[in-house]
């Protein structure tokens, strides 16, 4: 049996915290004054949104580093961060819609932040599609990094959208604007989703590195076949 790595430790810690935070949010935290029990989905929705923003920021950081140094390791981390961003956005949007139906009366509203989040998801999914179309590893790394930097400029529009346009979306909460009993499960779940995201990025970048090594190992054989 293989020994547990620090990456697996992050995953176990993340899932453990997620169960703890969610149980606290569902049973111990007080219901929100206006929305009642419906608002408890926020204990998943909001940490997912935070981690999505963080994962996209990691992707931006790795993109800059990958472009600057040209080292393949940073491209592996970039690929992992991009996938984490897309997965978190895919989780965030439906959880927001489930929250929106009883509170706003509709599953979807063309509110700027909702629209921007969907745009962000499509944007990062497009970069993954670009990546899938490029076979040459060096070119794939450079173009992924360039597309990520270009796309990241959209993220501030998502985060600050609600402040700039003032729409139907709730203004972001802070510890001062919510009940004391809500803060702890929120914080626990925020760290839980963050640890799971970091675990996912670490594992995914390991797989990406392995795939790249396999591609490079297969190269002489392919050249030999082409020459023959």
């Amino acid at each position: 049996m293989k020994p547990l790595t620090w990456q697996h430790g992050l995953g176990i810690l993340g899932f453990g915290l997620l169960v703890t935070g969610s149980v606290m949010g569902l049973t111990m935290a007080p219901p929100e004054r206006h929305m009642g029990d419906v608002s408890r989905i926020a204990y998943i929705h909001v940490p997912t949104a935070w981690s999505m923003l963080l994962a996209s920021t990691f992707a931006f950081g790795w993109a800059l580093t990958s472009l600057w140094t040209g080292k393949e390791r940073y491209d592996d981390l970039l690929a992992g961060s991009l996938e984490a961003t897309v997965i978190l956005a895919v989780l965030m949007l439906p959880s927001g819609m489930i929250w929106a139906k009883p509170t706003w009366g509709v599953w979807w509203d063309w509110d700027v932040r909702l629209t921007s989040s969907l745009v962000g998801l499509l944007l990062f999914a497009g970069i993954l599609a670009l990546r899938a179309f490029v076979d040459e590893p060096k070119r794939r790394a450079t173009w992924t990094a360039v597309a990520t930097i270009v796309a990241y400029v959209d993220i501030p529009l998502i985060y600050f959208g609600v402040r700039w346009w003032r729409s139907i979306h709730q203004v972001q909460s802070s510890p001062e604007t919510v009940s004391g009993g809500m803060i702890l499960p929120w914080r626990i779940n925020a760290f839980a989703v963050l640890f799971i995201t970091l675990w996912f990025i670490a594992m995914r970048s390991r797989i990406e590195a392995g795939r790249r090594q396999l591609e490079q190992a297969g190269e002489p054989e392919r050249i030999a076949e082409a020459v023959a």
Binding site: L67, V112, T115, S116, V119, G120, L122, L123, G126, I127, A129, L130, F133, V134, E136, K138, R139, T142, W143, A145, V146, A147, I149, V150, A151, V153, D154, L157
Partner: protein
């Protein structure tokens, strides 16, 4: 040095466009056709008038992909782009000449699409609003051209370029489309709350950001072979 190269390359790009002017005509007809097709989805004249700004911007966006996709594809014939880099021409000059040529190409769509929309959608615009309209159209065209040229440079030799370019470009220009649609609607329908300025500033910010980023990143893109 770079400015001289830029001017020479821009002259070359514009001459190329002029010599392939049949393609320009195709894009103009395509843009006008999209305006006609939109009217099938919105049969009421009142609805068409209210949505006219958005429909114009969408016609510009859809037409832009035809022009942007071609801008680098032509450079691969006889390995012209490689020849340019061997001269040597600065990659930044190549990027900005293409981006300016694409902006001018999209600007040229304005005098065709705007009158077509005025007639087809029964839109009445005050003569005083034409300057605002032209400014918004210019900012929208420049905003589409900057990232569009960068992505076109990346995807021009890839399998699946026709799918990838819109897939990458359309979500990226989301904020630009939103600001252009709002601005054009304010110009066409009136601006009693004086909101045009803030949307115009957003367009300017988008243009400044992407024109700067494009110039910085294109040398990396072409280093890996466009």
């Amino acid at each position: 040095m770079i400015v001289r190269q830029l001017v020479a390359l821009l002259g070359k790009d514009l001459r190329l466009e002029w010599r392939r002017r049949a393609r320009l005509l195709v894009v103009f007809v395509f843009g006008a056709m999209t305006l006609l097709l939109f009217s099938f989805a919105l049969p009421e004249t009142e609805m068409l008038v209210r949505a006219s700004g958005g429909l114009l911007v969408l016609a510009l966006l859809l037409s832009s992909t035809l022009g942007l996709a071609e801008s680098f594809r032509v450079e691969h014939e006889d390995r012209a782009l490689e020849g340019l880099f061997l001269l040597p021409v600065e990659p930044v000059a190549v990027y900005y000449s293409k981006a300016v040529a694409n902006t001018l190409f999209l600007l040229a769509l304005g005098p065709v699409l705007a009158p077509a929309a005025l007639i087809l959608y029964s839109v009445q615009v005050e003569s005083g609003a034409i300057a605002d309209f032209a400014l918004i159209w210019t900012l929208a065209a420049a905003g589409l051209a900057a990232p569009g040229t960068l992505y076109s440079g990346m995807t021009s030799r890839m399998r699946g370029q026709d799918v990838l370019l819109p897939l990458l470009l359309f979500p990226l220009v989301g904020p630009l489309l939103l600001a252009s649609v709002k601005s054009l609607n304010l110009v066409i329908l009136g601006d009693p709350m004086d909101q045009l300025g803030s949307w115009r500033n957003l367009l300017i910010a988008f243009d400044v950001i992407y024109w700067s980023i494009g110039g910085v990143l294109y040398p990396f893109v072409c280093e890996e072979g466009t």
